[in-house]
């Protein structure tokens, strides 16, 4: 399986390997939307209204294991691969922080 790294943003405002017209903000939004879909499943909680400001640990009770599970779910959902070696505590504070991290550390599977 070839991996293509998504550049931060091309001159044309798009991303290699992502749908035409995608932008940094667009990818980040797709990641956030995917989080709202898969996070309730990872946490086994229904009717969970997720906002970018929500704290992953203090508000949602997440720990490193569930965080990794969430990333794996996002990989499947978005058909991407996430390079987790760079993940820092700062990237795991809020849902929005995690979305930023994923958007900047994702590569496509094609």
């Amino acid at each position: 399986m070839e991996q293509e790294t998504l550049p931060q943003q091309s001159d044309a405002g798009g991303y290699g390997g992502s749908p035409p017209g995608a932008t940094a903000a667009g990818l980040r939004q797709r990641v956030f939307e995917a989080i709202t879909v898969v996070l309730p499943r990872v946490l086994d909680r229904d009717a969970l209204e997720i906002t970018p400001e929500m704290k992953l640990m203090s508000d949602l009770g997440m720990r490193s294991a569930s965080m990794l599970e969430l990333l794996l779910e996002l990989e499947d959902n978005l058909d991407i691969q996430i390079d987790v070696e760079d993940i820092t505590e700062a990237a795991m504070i809020s849902v929005g922080d995690l979305a930023d991290f994923v958007a900047s550390h994702a590569s496509t599977n094609d």
Binding site: R63, A65, E69, L72, E73, V84, E85, I87, T88
Partner: protein, 310 residues
């Protein structure tokens, strides 16, 4: 100065894919996948037919340097994680001593530092030998456990345990490998079941990298070296990701942490650093005079590091 005279290890041939172990333990497919995808674990060593005595004996058999020196061995220390490993009155360590001509040695278990207990045992062995004052006296440190129970097989989302063993011959002094320092910090506030006390688990996860980094820095300071001077780190094999993140935190190149055994050997309780030493020696990764650091962390929680000169 305490010296590691020789190290040998035994890894059972049987390799079980980490997903199989995780599935058998009731994890979801996604929970099982993350061990390989993110944590770097792939094959787990299990020896279903062997006993604990078999496991420890296999490592001791491979310690060829022990042959002919049995009468000089004054202490046999069994470093282990689990509080109970065999039913009373089974005593595999005594049985091993008798089988290997070490029946005269004082044998006992060292524990309560969990996966960092191997380093504690080396330190205890060195202290006992120094106190004895006999330059020819030796101690044998044994590590390795059977993964019988669910608790002994799995740390959810973190690691899967392997059955493997190591034997380390310790002397009171010698040219190599000289133990330059040992630092251990026990954080009793993390004593308890992390899977049942969520707040403690979160706090432990947050404190883990800084606490292990502190122990490593303390050992380096005691030895009079900087972390950058170290040629190699021999880690415990809890998983690869935690070491990658720790290296990034302390600015140490992850290429100098021997993580190659994580996917092929799994996390073998206290035996990991010794198994990694054997790998480093076999590959010629250590040259005379090199300083390397052995590091381990154990639930409970203890963070330990030892600087050794090859």
């Amino acid at each position: 100065m305490t010296a590691l005279k020789a190290v040998a290890c035994y890894l059972p041939d049987k390799r079980v894919p980490v997903e199989d172990v995780a599935s058998r333990l009731g994890l979801t497919p996604m929970q099982a996948r993350l061990f390989r995808r993110y944590l770097g674990l792939a094959d787990i060593r299990l020896d279903h037919d062997g006993t604990l005595l078999d496991l420890l004996s296999a490592a001791t058999w491979r310690l060829e340097e022990l042959r002919g020196l049995e009468q000089r061995v004054r202490y046999v220390l069994y470093a282990r994680v689990m509080p109970v490993v065999v039913p009373y009155p089974v005593n595999p360590v005594r049985d091993l001593c008798v089988a290997f001509g070490l029946g005269h040695a004082v044998s006992f278990t060292v524990t309560h530092h969990a996966c960092a207990t191997g380093l504690l045992a080396v330190d205890v062995a060195g202290r006992l030998l120094a106190e004895d004052g006999d330059p020819d006296a030796l101690a044998l440190v044994l590590t390795g456990e059977k993964a019988f129970t669910r608790d002994a097989q799995l740390v959810p989302g973190t690691s899967v345990f392997s059955e493997a063993a190591a034997a380390c011959l310790v002397g009171p002094d010698g040219p190599a490998d000289r133990v330059l320092s040992y630092a251990a910090s026990t954080r009793g506030e993390f004593s308890g079941r992390l899977d049942e006390i969520s707040a403690m688990a979160s706090s432990f996860e947050k404190e883990y990298p800084a606490s292990l980094a502190e122990a490593m820095s303390a050992a380096a300071d005691q030895a009079g070296v900087s972390l950058g001077d170290l040629s190699l780190i021999l880690p415990h094999n809890v998983n690869a990701l935690s070491w990658q993140r720790l290296c990034r935190r302390i600015g140490f190149p992850v290429s100098r942490v021997l993580l190659d055994n994580v996917p092929v050997a799994g996390h073998a309780f206290c035996a990991d650093p010794f198994i990694n030493y054997v790998t480093a020696a076999e590959r010629g990764l250590l040259r005379p005079g090199d300083r390397y650091l052995i590091a381990a962390a154990g639930f409970g929680a203890t963070f330990s590091a030892m600087v050794v000169e090859h």
